[in-house]
């Protein structure tokens, strides 16, 4: 009996640091890895959220940009990091699409991570060069079907939001357009403004100011409801493409094996950050909204990831374009 007690107490002692770690977490600076370069839309989302979460957690969160290979380099780095809650990953929809776009991945999106919660879902807008003939979504679709050999669709490279949106759009309207890839959204937008290419579908983060200025023609937004910032822009559903609902959702992850108590604490801090005045305002400037409280949970993120992997797999396989 004595022996058993001793063993138990040793076991308890051994467990103690871990328990204490979870209870007093966080005790030092946390690193939030963004798998894209600094200054981009995902980086901006991460920095705003990190700043608000820092205040809630009482420890600084440093954003580290680990770009490369469509976000998979940064995700792999976090998958291999120590599961102590001090290395986090803020990734977007690419977490789900990379599962199919990359036939060899150094991690498994569904098995290498713990989940904190969903952050925001940035809507997409379908836009065209300023002098494009069509005036509304129906007109656009009719025009594209009729002139499908002459119209060019710009995207920001394989796996980019604009690539995914184009894939979905072309599959919805059952028309293949000539795709013109670019090295990022900047050059793609430049050529769209200059009339070198015809159509693009990209995040509001990149398009809202151009639409407001009338520098491009806009046809639809892929969110369920119209945007406050672009009240005249109909939703895709209003324009007759009900299934064209799609956004660049962002989630917060940690390496597999991170203490559930820490994940709970992170999810709770995320909930507070998503109600932060500064975050709400800045997100609004990007024409997006923080996720409601019930989505800033591990369960919601896991469910989203699973359903999105299932959604994009057949689309990507049908297009037959892989990133490796």
């Amino acid at each position: 009996m004595k022996k058993l007690l001793a063993t138990l107490s040793i076991a308890a002692l051994a467990l103690l640091p871990q328990v204490a770690g979870a209870q007093t977490y966080p005790e030092r600076t946390i690193t939030m890895v963004v798998p894209f370069s600094a200054g981009g839309p995902t980086d901006t989302v991460a920095r705003l959220v990190a700043e608000a979460m820092s205040r809630e957690l009482g420890q600084q969160i440093i954003v580290e940009n680990v770009g490369g290979a469509g976000g998979t380099v940064g995700a792999a780095r976090v998958a291999q990091a120590a599961p102590d809650g001090y290395t986090l990953l803020l990734h977007h929809i690419g977490m789900a699409t990379s599962a199919t776009l990359y036939r060899k991945l150094p991690y498994n999106p569904l098995e290498s991570f713990e989940y904190a919660g969903l952050v925001t879902e940035v809507p997409m807008t379908i836009i065209a060069r300023p002098d494009f003939p069509a005036d509304d979504l129906q007109g656009l679709i009719a025009y594209l079907k009729e002139h499908k050999d002459d119209v060019t669709y710009a995207n920001a490279g394989i796996g980019a939001a604009s690539h995914l949106c184009g894939m979905l759009f072309m599959s919805e309207i059952e028309t293949q357009l000539t795709t013109v890839p670019y090295q990022g959204t900047g050059p793609a937008m430049t050529d769209l403004l200059g009339g070198q290419v015809d159509v693009m579908c990209d995040q509001t983060t990149n398009t809202t100011s151009q639409i407001q200025a009338g520098a491009v023609k806009a046809y639809a937004v892929t969110s369920p409801e119209r945007l406050e910032q672009l009240p005249d822009l109909p939703t895709a559903a209003e324009g007759g493409l009900a299934s064209m609902q799609f956004g660049i959702w962002h989630g917060l992850y940690a390496p597999k094996g991170t203490d559930p108590a820490i994940m709970e604490r992170l999810s709770q801090a995320l909930k507070v950050a998503l109600k932060d005045k500064n975050v709400v305002e800045r997100f609004a400037a990007l024409a997006t909204k923080p996720e409601p409280e019930e989505n800033a949970t591990p369960q919601a993120l896991k469910a989203k990831l699973e359903s999105e992997i299932a959604r994009w797999k057949p689309l990507i396989e049908a297009a037959g374009v892989y990133a490796d």
């Binding site: 954003v63 580290e64 009339g195 070198q196 400037a285």
Partner: protein, 501 residues
């Protein structure tokens, strides 16, 4: 007068004491990171982004802009003193600047770079104030066919960069082109020369390549034999340019400024291209082409002015269209978004204080930089007297830290090592690294634009001739090629180089 009221609005913002102070902090930081090899403005601005959250938008952008053009000044310092381009666009400055330093003319080279940059910065600021919107519109006319033809012209001119055999220069350009292929193909996603390493799928890092072939290779070369360890020239003949130097600088500075102002506006063209172009032009029209590569002051003044003007006018597409011309501008856009300002065509109207404040601050910043840099020349030159056993390890360490900080990617360091070794081998074989670097920069762009132009034109190659801007560029390229290959010029060229050897 709109312009005057706009500029006075800008000045009233830029000259507020706290804005001046942050402008100074930015310029100082920029100079420092420019001087430290490898650590460029991109890494610095990324690290400072969180700090700007607490500042108001104009102030933070004024500071970040100061870092950017401050780095253009600082980058030339190490390029001249130790053949280490601290900033990608000063790679060209290293060619003749370092040769000047070896001849004891480091102070003069530094002064030429600073004064040229100041002139270029001032002119580019005026260009920005007067013509930003129309220039941005004109830049939109540049589609893929135009870029392709511009790159062809650039590559043809690159041959003129070499001061040895044309064969070797061409070989170096091709080697550079091949290294430029490393990474995932933009159009198909196919991996090229990546050996299954995901970190290599986004191309080799330009700064790693440049610091490797120039700086590391130079260090290795200096260590190769005990008696020849003369990198750091002890005798320094004068810090200030003579009247003759000023006379030789004037033309290159003006032409470099013009080239830089134009090429800087093109998204994706940028300061590096402008510096290469300026060097080529100066060498072509110089009456002493044999001095290029041996310490010609024109080869420092021209490219330095060009890269500084280009750095400044690359703000045009960012401020007027919301489009980043280079990674630093992408960061600026991120900084604006964090501040709640969405960059786009409306910034000029909705945030005039921001737009004109930044422009006015650039002029103030350039003045600060020249005042900051000229007195420092004496100090920098004294750096040359640091013994090599302290200097070399320090350079290596700074270069490694700086390069790693860009993308936290260990493969950037492997690239640095590889290109250091390669650069040393090239020096031993009498091949020059500059054409390699140009091929490395232009190759991927050439391919990208060629293929895009062909996709958009549906495989019709005449598009390069039917679009007027593209046709003109190709004709110029053909003329340059003809001139280079013309027997009489060739003979003269060879004579010049025979004389040198």
């Amino acid at each position: 007068m709109d312009l005057i009221s706009n500029l006075s609005l800008g000045l009233s913002i830029a000259l507020q004491p706290h804005n001046l102070a942050f402008c100074f902090v930015g310029c100082l930081l920029g100079t420092l990171v420019g001087v430290l090899p490898g650590i460029g403005p991109t890494a610095t601005i990324a690290m400072l982004l969180p700090i700007t959250l607490g500042l108001d938008p104009s102030t933070s952008l004024i500071m970040l802009a100061g870092i950017y053009y401050g780095a253009q000044y600082g980058g030339s310092t190490t390029a001249i003193l130790i053949n280490l381009p601290g900033e990608s666009s000063s790679a060209v400055t290293a060619i003749d600047g370092y040769q000047m330093a070896k001849r004891g003319r480091a102070g003069i080279a530094l002064a030429a770079a600073a004064l040229g940059s100041f002139f270029a910065g001032t002119v580019a600021t005026v260009v920005l104030a007067l013509f930003a919107p129309p220039l941005a519109k004109a830049a939109l006319k540049f589609g893929s066919p135009e870029y392709f033809s511009l790159m062809v012209l650039g590559l043809v001119c690159a041959i003129a960069l070499a001061h040895g055999s044309i064969l070797k220069a061409t070989a170096m350009i091709i080697v550079g082109l091949l290294f430029g292929l490393v990474g995932a193909d933009l159009y198909s996603g196919a991996q090229r020369f990546t050996f299954g390493i995901p970190e290599l799928s986004d191309e080799l890092n330009f700064v790693s390549v440049a610091v490797g072939v120039f700086g590391i290779a130079e260090i290795l070369r200096n260590l190769q034999n005990e008696t020849d360890r003369d990198v750091m020239v002890k005798k320094v003949t004068g810090l200030w340019p003579t009247r003759e130097d000023f006379r030789r600088m004037a033309g290159p500075v003006v032409r470099g400024t013009a080239l830089g102002s134009i090429l800087g506006v093109l998204p994706g063209g940028g300061a590096i291209l402008a510096a290469f172009a300026s060097y080529t032009v100066e060498k072509r029209i110089s009456r002493r082409p044999q001095e290029f590569g041996k310490g010609a002051i024109e080869g420092v003044a021209g490219p330095e002015s060009a890269n500084n003007a280009g750095a400044q006018t690359s703000f045009i597409p960012m401020l007027t269209l919301g489009i980043p011309a280079n990674p630093v501008m992408a960061l600026m856009i991120g900084a604006m978004i964090i501040q709640g300002i969405v960059p786009g065509p409306n910034v000029v109207n909705q945030n005039p204080e921001l737009f004109w404040g930044i422009i006015a601050s650039m002029w103030a910043g350039n003045l600060m930089l020249v005042l900051l840099n000229l007195p420092l020349i004496g100090l920098w030159v004294r750096l040359l007297t640091i013994p090599y056993y302290l200097l070399f390890p320090a350079i290596m360490a700074f270069a490694a830290i700086g390069i790693y900080s860009i993308n936290s990617n260990p493969y950037d360091l492997y690239t640095l090592t590889l290109f250091g070794a390669l650069g040393y081998a090239l020096v031993r074989f009498g091949c020059e690294p500059a054409p390699l670097l140009l091929g490395f920069v232009l190759g991927p762009m050439l391919e990208e634009h060629l293929r895009r132009a062909m996709i958009i034109s549906r495989g019709d190659p005449t598009v390069f001739l039917t679009r007027p801007i593209s046709a003109v560029l190709l004709v110029i390229a053909a003329i340059v090629l003809a001139v280079v290959l013309m027997p009489s010029v060739r003979r003269k060229r060879e004579e010049v180089f025979v004389e040198e050897d």
